[in-house]
């Protein structure tokens, strides 16, 4: 296996070995929940999330901050403090350290975050830098948004376009294959830069500030469809997912078609998914748009009807029962490995 450990293994091995049960931990590790929530007793709560970046990226330091900050922000809480374990390869370690720290500083300043600690070392045997990250925020308990709050009747909105992160990964890691299939350099370059759209912090905080949403979620592996399934699972509801409504950038359409990839199941950091009561819908969309970000209605929450997602595409409806949607990247890597 390569990449994130499957939910099956998480349940079989990880969730059984979490040490003591702490009653002050309101939300711990759970499928679909983006960050831990700890009751501080004083009326406040701590939001904590851990993430990592292991793929080669020229934006590693900048991404490291934004990716983990997203998960705190979708809890409706400003990410304020950042820690990292940074593992550098022996080759060019000082140069890499400087590049990465300058990027971390840039992203932290963009988000108003302070780096409060970390471990930085040159690690024998690495061929690229790897970073593990923690982001922390603090909030009144009452304003925290979870993935589990979606109510029947709510609309489901998503911001930006599908597969933002996935498009960047395809245009970077699969560039040669895409070239061989006739995809032009301008598309590859533009698609690679989709990573710059990865932050959802501003729109997530604004929606929470105004109390417009019942649940938010940061879709990653499994794409928009995976994110919708996780929202439904955490909220114990069924979501009618209007697949044809999902906005897809032209670059994304070109590269996913060239590789035969389902754009709805491709890793999607950069989009925010939220459930919105009908009376808040217009204000929610306007709020997101005030940041120059598009928001699109892509479905509706229903009472649980024996499945997580009803995927409506054209005139056909398919049903999804499994919360775990395998990301298309998994199949792509497997295919490439088998042809090597």
């Amino acid at each position: 296996m390569v990449g994130k450990v499957s939910p099956k293994l998480m349940e079989k091995i990880v969730y059984k070995n979490l040490g003591v049960v702490d009653p002050d931990v309101l939300v711990g590790p759970a499928i679909g929940e983006d960050a831990a929530i700890i009751d501080l007793k004083s009326g406040g709560a701590l939001i904590v999330h851990n993430d990592a970046i292991t793929g080669a990226s020229k934006f590693l330091g900048w991404l490291a901050v934004h990716i983990v900050a997203n998960d705190v922000a979708v809890r409706g809480v400003k990410p304020r403090w950042f820690l990292m374990s940074l593992f550098l390869p022996e080759k060019d370690s000082e140069k890499l350290l400087e590049e990465i720290m300058v990027q971390i500083n840039k992203a932290a300043n963009e988000l108003g975050i302070m780096v409060i600690g970390g471990h930085t070392e040159t690690t024998p045997g690495l061929d690229r830098p790897i970073v593990g990250t923690t982001a922390i925020g603090i909030s009144e308990k009452s304003r925290i948004v979870t993935t589990s709050g979606a109510q029947a009747g709510d609309y489901v909105i998503m911001t930006k376009n599908a597969a933002i992160e996935g498009t960047a990964i395809l245009c970077t890691d699969f560039a040669d294959i895409l070239r061989s299939k006739g995809v032009g350099e301008d598309i590859l370059e533009c698609g690679s830069d989709f990573l710059m759209k990865v932050s959802v912090v501003k729109e997530a905080l604004a929606l929470a500030d105004k109390g417009l949403v019942t649940a938010m979620h940061d879709p990653t592996e499994g794409g928009i469809l995976g994110g919708i399934a996780e929202l439904a699972y955490a909220s114990r509801k069924t979501i009618e997912f209007w697949a044809d409504k999902v906005p897809i950038a032209e670059e994304t359409r070109l590269v996913t078609e060239a590789l035969g990839v389902d754009v709805l199941k491709l890793i999607s950091s950069g989009s925010l998914i939220a459930s919105v009561p009908p009376s808040n819908l217009n204000e929610a969309i306007n709020t997101v748009q005030s940041f120059g970000v598009e928001a699109t209605v892509i479905g509706r929450v229903k009472e649980y009807a024996d499945c997580l997602v009803e995927v409506i595409k054209g005139s056909s409806t398919t049903v999804l029962n499994d919360v775990y949607v395998t990301d298309e990247l998994f199949y792509l890597w497997k295919k490439i490995k088998s042809t090597c």
Copy 2:
């Protein structure tokens, strides 16, 4: 360079790139300070520390929890919540995941910690597991102990023996060289198991509970001498260090002599260093001993006298001005590399 980034590079590159200056961060990244302290305004404070383990170890999961927990505990605060970024090699990843999680669970239960989040993945290109960790605790501000509180007149105590972690590393990573120098298997085995003594949580929390210490510190790279220098530096004092008083286990003496290593400069997780007012000294020593752990007076704090440490060994006194003591492991690895 291999291993932790030097303080010089930290100052040149890392400390300059920490994002915004957050006034609620009472202690951020700083030489000698073991953990960050964040003002929660409600009278409480958050203690957060990040660490990592990258060397091959059969105890990786267990160590990952204890090592990072130590740094929160030397702030006088119980470590309660743990997050990790766990990077597994492709070979045997499921088996390794299970071994590591069982160890994490064991250590977390020993310390009363809950694992609240993490990122677990199989990372291409790794030949061994690597883990980045975060530990968090919460406390009344008034009971927090820092590295900077040592007062002139205080005694300096250390617990257990010098170079506990270093002894285990030498007996594991340098076993073949030690064998060639006549060190027996029983010593190597016993020395490897010194890692089991790595926790200082119980004694650190008990000393803080009773308000017996003015400063505490977890000596790691640079050994006991490095730890003493960091305590002096953070407290802006001079410490008279009675080197002959430092207790050394027989296994440690044998392996450090065989390799020509200065035991006082060898990585020393497992010991706690604390400054204690004279009136508290007996109670502090008794408190530590009540856990079956030895405590030894190894020096005294003076007003700053133009150096950090006066090392008194036999009838000679040498003076240390530099807070950064290079760990003996660094020279050992360098020597081995040059003879390869």
